[in-house]
Amino acid sequence: MPRRGARLLVALPLVVAGCMATKSDVTVLQQDIMLVRAEAAQSDSARRQEIQRIMRSMQSLTDSMSAVATRLTRLRADVSGRFSAIEEDTRRLQELAGQSQSRMQELRAAVESRVPAPTTPGSAAPAPGPNQLYQLGRDQLLRGSTAAARTAFEDLLARYPEADVAADAQFYIGETHAAEGNAEAADQAYARVASAYPRSPRAATATYKRAVAAEGARRTRDARRLYNEVISKFPRSDEAALARDRLRDLQ
């Protein structure tokens, strides 16, 4: 019994002390909360202000962005329009250049026919110039005289292998064979265009024609290879656009 009393005497101060600590803590906590609330209230206000400031800035930025976007759109339309105009002008120039080239070709042939050309050894008659021979070949081809046309083109290549119209002549040799239905000879002549005159615009056309012929003859692997060759070597040509279409169909 006396031992139980002694234990209570020891515990009581501890319990009272514990209660005392809790009460002060609550007070502190209450103060803290008030402080926090005050701070929070202050902070929200500042944040609101900050947010409002940011929002004003963003609005301003959005307006600026919108103005910039509008200007950009206008600029893009303007640039696009100018590009279209430039593109159109380029095309027109190309057409004009193409037509002028054709005219020049005819003029050169006419000039050659009037200017006395050097005579071939052992021959009294003056030798025809390359443009004359080319024009002769084209005329014969237009008339359907494929053999005569081929003779003129072959003569041109034999006499003037470095002439400006050499690639064209080689291409039209292929055309004469194709017109006669001689697919093998046409293929060889077209192949010669691509190998001997790889920088000529005729090279793209000749290679594409080889591909079309291969496709027609159901040599699909050859056709694919040649279409791919057109696309890789002459990516901006019309023939490349046609070849892409054909490859899609061959898939």
Binding site: D139, L142, Y208
Partner: protein, 447 residues
């Protein structure tokens, strides 16, 4: 006395006059001769004798009109009653001297037979039958087919006389309102082909039995093939929804080309009639309009209209799409408009329409690129060649309303083909079914 004094002079004149004739006759080579003997640079006069048969007057009128419309001969129209008196009895010869005085270089005589007609062409200059043949006419009179068989006979006789076959046995497709119509080359036998749907751009197949046109429906305009014999029709399934216009057949009849919307523009594509599902691209317009394809006679090239240079111009390319060339005269910054090319059957010329005080019909010679303006009155559009390679049909407003007119490209002579308002977009057929001939007769046989 005076006469006696002049005798040597008269004799000399006679000799000098006769000498060139003698020399000419000696120089005339023997062998094959095409056509009639007549002076160079003149159209030979032809007299068509009355046809003594039921509807013989119709036969004579059709033959006379066909020869006249061919523009290669001058038909001397004389009264039937007067000519009957000049018809020789059986076994007797024509009075060639008299016909020569009437201005005739040839006499056409048509005699009915059991199954048709026997036609003779007499060469007045050499006083003998130039050629004769029998033509079976199976169709019931006076149907459209009967008329076509008479046209066929007239075409052959024109070939005997001039060496060039006539174009009478052909027809013209055109659009009136929203339907396709057809008319004979002489303006007769007009009939409606389609009903109830907007149809445009009719085109003949080379076999003369099938046509193609662009038909408007819920899926846009699509290409439709129409068999004129059976009346059956089928949509070309390969034509995607949207725009599909200006169809044309290749000369071998194996391929169909047309313009379709692609990549923001209009491109020409081709498909084999045996496999219409596989469509091949022909033009690379890069967003521009490319329409109105027309094949060269050998089928190796195509003429078409393209706006790739800024304004519509006529181009030619190989039929696989390569080797593109601007054909019409290009002016930098110009505002010209050139369209609707049509390649002539002989391959030498391309007809098209161009702005020259309103649309006018132009002819471009492919040999030297020279251009000839054919029309100058009213608005003239959409030329199409007759199978003789000489005449063109086109739409013209010269009468105040749109009508079809035919022009002779060599003489410029015009005739009105249709008379009801609103005809446009004509396409002239090839020669239709061959002339039925039961037996061959001698050529250049002395009478």
């Amino acid at each position: 006395m005076m006469l006696r004094a002049f005798r040597p002079a008269i004799a000399l004149v006679i000799v000098l006059t006769a000498l060139p004739l003698a020399v000419a006759s000696q120089e005339t080579p023997r062998g094959v001769r095409i056509g009639l003997s007549y002076g160079a640079g003149v159209k030979p006069g032809v007299i068509v004798m009355p046809v003594e048969a039921t509807r013989g007057d119709s036969v004579r009128a059709i033959v006379q009109r066909d020869l006249d419309y061919g523009d290669r001969v001058t038909v001397i129209a004389l009264d039937s009653a007067a000519l009957r008196g000049l018809t020789p009895a059986a076994g007797r010869r024509f009075n060639y001297q008299l016909f020569s005085r009437l201005g005739a270089a040839a006499i056409v005589r048509i005699v009915p037979t059991a199954g048709g007609y026997r036609a003779e062409v007499h060469d007045v200059t050499v006083r003998r039958v130039l050629r004769a043949d029998t033509f079976a006419v199976a169709a019931a009179r006076p149907s459209g087919e009967w008329r076509m068989e008479i046209h066929g006979m007239a075409d052959e006789m024109e070939r005997w006389i001039t060496g060039v076959k006539g174009m009478a046995r052909s027809r013209v497709l055109f659009v009136r309102g929203s339907d396709v119509w057809m008319v004979d080359s002489d303006g007769a036998n007009q009939r409606q082909i389609t009903r109830g749907a907007l149809t445009l751009s009719p085109a003949w197949h080379p076999n003369g039995r099938m046509i193609a046109y662009s038909r408007y429906g819920s899926a846009g305009t699509r290409i439709e093939l129409h068999d004129l014999e059976t009346g059956s029709r089928r949509i070309v399934r390969a034509t995607p929804e949207g725009l599909n216009i200006t169809p044309a057949f290749s000369p071998d009849g194996q391929h169909l080309v047309w313009a379709t919307n692609r990549e923001g523009g209009t491109e020409i594509v081709a498909a084999s009639l045996a496999n219409l599902a596989s469509v091949r691209r022909v033009t690379v317009g890069r967003g521009t309009d490319n329409t109105s394809p027309s094949f060269s006679p050998d089928g190796r090239k195509i003429a078409f209209m393209s706006g790739r240079a800024g304004q519509p111009e006529v181009y030619i390319s190989d039929s696989d799409g390569t080797n593109v060339q601007l054909l019409t005269e290009f002016t930098f910054g110009g505002t010209s408009y050139r369209a609707s090319p049509a390649w002539s059957p002989d391959g030498r010329l391309i007809a098209y329409q161009a702005t020259a005080g309103g649309f006018q019909i132009m002819l471009l010679n492919l040999r030297d690129r020279s251009v000839k303006q054919l029309t100058s009155t009213g608005v003239n559009e959409d030329p199409s060649w007759a199978p003789d390679g000489r005449h063109l049909v086109f739409t013209s407003s010269r009468s105040g309303v749109q009508q079809l007119w035919v022009i002779d490209s060599e003489s410029g002579r015009l005739r009105q083909l249709t008379h009801a308002a609103g005809a446009r977009l004509a396409d002239w057929s090839p020669y239709l079914a061959p002339t039925l001939s039961t037996e061959q007769h001698v050529t250049n046989t002395p009478d």
